[in-house]
Amino acid sequence: MTALTGLSIAAVRDGLAERDFTALELAREHLRSIEKARHLNAFITETPEIALARAKESDARRAKGKALGPMDGVPIAIKDLFCTASVPTTAGSHILDGFTPTYESTVTAKLKAAGAVMLGKTNMDEFAMGSSNMTSYHGPVKNPWRPEGREKRDKDLVPGGSSGGSAAAVAAGLAPAAIGTDTGGSIRQPASFCGIVGMKPTYGRCSRWGIVAFASSLDQAGPFARSVEDTAILLAAMAGHDPKDSTSAPVAVPDFRAALKKSAKGLKVGIPKEYTMDGMPAAIDALWKRGVAWMQAQGAECREVSLPHTAYALPTYYIVAPAEASSNLARYDGVRFGLRVDEGGTLDEMYAATRGEGFGAEVRRRVLIGTYVLSAGYYDAYYLKAQKVRALIAEDFRKAFEAVDVLLTPTAPSAAFAIGDKMDDPVAMYLNDVFTVPASLAGLPAISLPAGLDADGLPLGLHLIAKPFDEETLFRAAAALEEACSFDAHPPGFGGSP
């Protein structure tokens, strides 16, 4: 990282305000770092022209004394799941070849309106289905972190997924912040793997309009940054009711940053006993315990709580999400946009050839699972039962939150693993989301922040979960935890604060 690429959003805002540097300088510096880090494969599409143009606009506004707010002039990276007008949008898939939206997603439109400077579209698991970024048609993303120790040094690691490109970009200093989407852990798990902060807001907090859908009842946009404060600043610019999304909540957006200043004193933190997993690495268990101690040191009360249906969350998720996906992805049929593979056969043959070639193995697997669980004769046993269990899981949380304000858990059951690992074992891959999926099913806000390193020197995250639309308490607890654990490690080669 250079002097300008290591800055927080808060520092950027101050630097721009003080005329220490311009938005254009900031954009150029980040574009240079993106170019230098192309081996990470964090971006699918770089948008330097847009970045420079928006940076100039930002500087012009500021020169006239009309700077917009804390995001004005701040460079950001956008997961390639958000539709961006006149910029190709791939969702990491071959089937969207050649697709350039004429429209801008609500979240990216809000960021643009807030003066944010788009650097490019980040790599991701195909249609956000994956926990490793291995399923992207555009190739895997490399995690900027590398394990210490000689034998392991040659192995590239995954950044997690599905928002792996966004997480890697922020960790490597290619952008001070990025946006992603989280369906079952797709922001929080890569944040944990890349040693940064990633936050999933309450379902309905951010509009889904213009985000390529994976599982509509779970998908939620959220921020990545290198500090809790920065995620709070970025979320404030993303959130808000949108009449174009019927599931977006008509609630006001509070001042998230104000919540950061509140002490954690008296905060009640629940430790769900069911989150202790057999075979969980000792480093993760130890970090979790340290997390409890840190919260107590900050004046919080920690107590054990029970979420009895936790064990059913992952299987429930892997019924609900594929079911919705199988239907959401039916529109990729080769008829109106994207890839069409037509060998002159029948309509059904065109569908089969297009979808067979356009979708990767993991997407095909989930479409098949989803189609199966919705089929006549299986619907009640799978989809309907999963919906019932989902309600029970939400009820578990509701009861737990009668006694506590937030829950503290690990983010993921391991640190980042090597590229190629777990690819032959989908269930092992799905286990990455075991701690993040329950909050997704219940629609709750949750955040992952880097709290320590494992024996290989790889970052591990801790995970906080709060009540619906209580992001303020979530940020308050996260700020206290961040302060207590004072994590300041950086990926080797991308390191160090300026």
Partner: protein
């Protein structure tokens, strides 16, 4: 009333249920802001949502909800305050999402009823099973290009109500009456224009047959029939087909069939084994639709007088027969026309003029009540001219014919053409004297007892007066003069 189809081995009864797809009158589609203009150039009424572009989301059109509730109330049906939109999944190029958003297990409207006005003046109740909202698909055009199918998405996403009857219909005639009555109610409510030729209303027809007293047998569904006449014909030929199958020892398979009006037959479209598995599930992009009771009550307050109530009122207040009242209330414009004519006048006479002469004239000139050349005001004036003796019944018919042709007020025409009835006894006696003088032989015959000749004299007098003589006076004066 009962419709029995004679088979080789006894009589069979047809059992019919109709699923009517009625396009909701709305300027915008069910889940997008796109316009819905009929006959627009292909693919000009399409939003990003209708084309299922990535990331686009449906937003329910509140006006369409109000229209569905209004229709439910008009069908005297239960309004469900909680209903759910689901996805019906299947692949077809004119279905851009790969699913249709419809209501399945929890529709917005539950059970209701439609009253049929039978020819003998009685009524028969056909149950409504449910009404649900759904979006239409686009159109595949197979005949525009030699090698390709073209897609027009103008209709994709258009709001429909599917109105499902119970299997209460027993004959083609009842099916016709049901469709006409339903259309009449929808038009009164302003929720569907009912134009079957524009596709605003189409029906899926479920037909089975059985012997009297039996339980229901297997049914076949005839898809997408687009006129009342074709619905009636398709029931007749499908019932015959099934009877022939049973009587030759076969069984009827549950399947979807198409009606070919040209050949007068139904053909198999796909059998149950090839039926789609639509994988219905609640659409996660839309929240369950919840209606507040006062919302439903407010819509109820705005309902117009519907055909059944109007019919009862016409029988009660105007003394019409139930059949005549039923005919007059079929559409609101006819009913309003009649009421304008009947107000302050002999209501039976008014009904006769509207249903007989006026409807006949509209029929023969290809006009509708809205474009009628004779206004209700003018027809009322004509009846007044009869009542005050200015016109005889016969002259009135002549004046009416002129009104149809020229669209003028009857009083004006009477003056212009000098069609006023002659009631001057002296003038009539002069004509009678002239006729009797010219037919002295016939007068003698009459006086010797050939009474039948009276009609001959009336005819001659009327002819001589160019039809203007008051027929009553002619009768009286002739009788006394012939009596000598």
């Amino acid at each position: 009333m009962s419709y029995l189809v004679k088979g080789e081995r006894g009589d069979w009864e047809a059992v019919v249920g109709l699923e009517v797809h009625a396009q909701i009158v709305s300027n915008a589609k069910l889940f997008s802001g796109a316009a819905t203009q009929f006959g627009a150039a292909p693919n000009t009424q399409v939003s990003l949502v209708d084309a299922a572009m990535p990331g686009m989301l449906p937003v329910l059109n509140g006006h369409c909800v109000a229209q569905a509730v209004r229709t439910g109330l008009g069908l005297k049906a239960k309004i469900n305050t909680r209903s759910v939109f689901e996805r019906k999944n299947y692949f077809y190029p004119d279905l851009p999402h790969g699913y249709q958003i419809s209501q399945y297990s929890q529709p917005i409207v539950g059970e209701g009823a439609v009253l049929l006005d039978m020819a003998d003046g009685s009524t028969r109740t056909i149950g409504i099973e449910r009404l649900h909202m759904e979006q239409d698909a686009g159109k595949s055009l197979h005949d525009q290009d030699p090698g390709r199918t073209l897609i027009d998405l103008n209709r994709a996403g258009v709001a429909l109500m599917e109105i499902v009857s119970k299997p209460d219909i027993r004959s083609p005639e009842e099916a016709g009456l049901y469709l006409r009555k339903l259309r009449s109610i929808l038009r009164y409510l302003g929720t569907c224009d009912g134009n079957m030729e524009e596709g605003s209303m189409r029906a899926d027809v479920n037909v089975s047959v059985r012997k009297a007293g039996e339980a229901f047998r297997t049914r076949c569904e005839i898809k997408n029939v687009n006129s009342v006449r074709f619905v009636m014909q398709s029931i007749e030929v499908e019932a015959r087909r099934q009877i022939e199958v049973y009587e030759s020892g076969g069984t009827v398979d549950q399947e979807t069939r198409l009606f070919d009006p040209g050949r007068g037959e139904t053909r198999s479209m796909r059998s149950k084994e090839h039926a789609h598995d639509y994988r219905y599930f609640p659409d996660p992009d839309l929240l369950p639709l919840k209606l507040k009771p006062d919302y439903v009550a407010r819509i109820k307050d705005t309902l117009p007088e519907l055909p059944d109530e109007k019919k009862d009122r016409f029988v009660r207040d105007y003394g019409l027969s139930p059949y005549d009242a039923g005919v007059l209330v079929v559409d609101r414009a006819s009913a309003d026309f009649f009421e304008t004519v009947a107000k302050g006048r002999d209501s039976k006479l008014a009904a006769n003029w509207v249903m007989g002469d006026l409807f006949g004239a509209l029929n023969s000139t290809g006009k509708t009540i809205e474009t009628s050349p004779v206004s209700a005001k003018h027809l009322g004036e004509l009846i007044d001219l009869i009542a005050d003796g200015t016109l005889s019944g016969r002259l009135a018919k002549d004046v009416f014919a002129l009104m149809v042709g020229e669209g003028k007020a009857p009083s004006l025409l009477v003056d212009e053409k000098g069609l006023k009835q002659v009631t001057d006894t002296g003038a009539i006696e002069a004509v009678i004297d002239q006729v009797m003088g010219a037919n002295a032989d016939k007068v003698a015959e009459y006086r010797s007892g050939k009474d039948k000749l009276f009609g001959f004299f009336v005819g001659q007098v009327m002819k001589a007066s160019q039809g203007k003589a008051n027929p009553g006076l002619v009768n009286d004066l002739l009788k006394s003069k012939l009596a000598g």
